[in-house]
């Protein structure tokens, strides 16, 4: 059998009194896009922050390509090919665009000295080629805090896609985006799939999830309530299911 690109076994996470995740079993296949659905506070963001190495699970195991990884950290997860668009965007608003694009993995020449020209060049290219920013206010040296909500989000998204990750994690990437931008993002995610890579996609818009995901995992109050393949189910049926989960905590 082919190894999963990523797998969580019996993962639990509590924040003091709050049990955010309870005995989660989750996997992401090779070249698979998984959608995560669930109510506010269900534990979706906590789950992906465990995958990205930001949170350490209280118990349970994490596997990348079938290999167990102990003490996963953000840099380690990144080395394993994972990039993330966090729900909170993780930007530094008083800093320039180029510093935000390379936040936490600055390009350096030797001994940690910054390759500033290179980072500005790369940022400029990304802006013109990938972001499609039209505002004159957006350039490598402008401060991200001044951008519009959608532009800020564009920065977080482009930053994740730029580094050519094998696994892209997107936590509510379409929140606050215009219809046009959302459509662009959806085609981006489809592009990830076409390029042979994997993605985890969280969105409260069922239509978006339905359009990009091969498989949908439903999280409810910190547990996996169920999952299904999108090709086996119609959109109406999916909506009915989600209502049922909200009421009963179970998928079927």
């Amino acid at each position: 059998m082919e190894e999963y690109r990523l797998e969580l076994k019996h993962v639990s996470k509590s924040f003091g009194e709050v049990q955010a995740l309870e005995n989660i079993n989750f996997h992401l296949g090779q070249n698979e896009v998984v959608g995560l659905l669930g109510d506010n506070g269900a534990g979706k963001s906590t789950l992906i922050k465990i995958i990205t190495g930001y949170h350490q699970p209280t118990s349970g195991e994490i596997y990348f390509n079938g290999k167990k990884v102990d003490h996963l950290t953000v840099p380690k997860a990144r080395e394993l090919g994972l990039e993330t668009v966090y729900q909170e965007r993780a930007l530094a608003e008083l800093q320039t665009l180029w510093r935000n694009i390379f936040l936490g993995r600055e390009l350096t020449t030797w001994m940690g000295f910054l390759d500033i020209q290179r980072m500005r060049d790369e940022t400029y290219r990304l802006m013109t080629e990938s972001m499609g920013f039209t505002s004159r206010a957006v350039n490598p040296d402008s401060l991200v805090g001044k951008y519009s909500g959608g532009e800020k989000q564009g920065v977080a998204i482009v930053r994740a896609l730029f580094f050519n990750a094998d696994i892209v994690v997107l936590d509510e990437p379409t929140m606050g985006l215009s219809l046009k931008e959302s459509a662009k993002l959806i085609s981006f995610v489809n592009g990830i799939k076409q390029a042979g890579k994997s993605a985890i996609f969280i969105d409260h818009n069922i239509l978006h999830v339905y359009n990009v995901a091969d498989r949908v995992v439903v999280i409810d109050r910190g547990r996996v309530a169920g999952e299904f393949q999108t090709k086996n189910i119609g959109l109406n049926e999916l909506m009915d299911k989600m209502v049922r989960v909200a009421e009963t905590g179970r998928l079927s």
Binding site: G53, V74, R78, E88, E93, L94, L103, R105, F113, L114
Partner: protein, 346 residues
Amino acid sequence: MNSQNKARLPEITQHYKPPFNLRRFIRTNSAQLGILGVFVTLWIIFIVSAPKTFLAPHIYSAFMASTPFFAIMAIPLTIVVIAKEIDLSFPSIMAMGMVSFNYTYGATTFIHNTTIQVFLAIVAALVTGAIIGWLNGFIIVKFGIPSLVVTIGTQFLWSGADLVLTQGANFSLEYIKQTFFYNLFVGTIGPYFPMQMFWLIVVTILGWILLNRHRFGAHVYLIGDNINSAELMGINTGRVRIQAFMLVGVVSAFAGILASFYVAYFWPNVGGGYLLQTLASVFLGGTSVFGGTGTILGTFLGAFIIGAIEAATVAVGLTGFWTNFIYGLIIVLSVIMHTYLRKRGE
């Protein structure tokens, strides 16, 4: 990891070179230009009101002799403040460094070579500074206690330890004059240029490079701006902050050496009186207490404004009683200016 990232990137074909734009230049450097404006304005006021004093080289030599003792600490302190932390314990680190200095000198008399003894004593002082700085950072990061609280505590702790260890004794360090370290640290180049000014310039340049051209500095800005973002993106925020406190520690111990060497005398409270001047230099220079913004150059200019006011007050013909009043006036007005410039820049 960096080489890996690079390898995945296609070749750059187009360089980003925006044409020079004066308005943008002014906007991005408003804090530094603002403090430069204050600096030049005060200077002109001084020259106009006391031309005899301020057109002679002697007064500048005096400024360059006394200002570096606190200005040099304001440089790493700027880095700490940009990371949205504060350190109030550096005066006690100045003293503790010198306590180590004295102990080491005393414990190595068997070497019978003053220069080697002084050298070892200097190393001991710097290491002591690094350790105390590390401890500050460690307590702040590990226990998550605000640095304001921790360093008020450690300031008392180490200035207390200093008094206990020295029993309040003060004594001459005349022997250092036999070594080349004396001239190296506090001698003069030519008739007017004090060596402590040279060391201030060295520390300023190193601080600037670290903050603006090195990954460490990039992470300092990011941590001060939004520590949560920095952590989500994998920056080791604890380690970077501890390193910043260690820089303050090492440089403060060095400042203690400079100040003690200058008078060739050891006072247990060598750092006393520098606390507010150093902090004022940082904030006068436009570094924000809210973190994420600030410049080394601003601090450098801020320190010389602070350093000049006392002498200038007297030279201009006011009594020394005016000094603090004028300090306060300039600090308050400059901080208001910086806040205004920041608001406009946003």
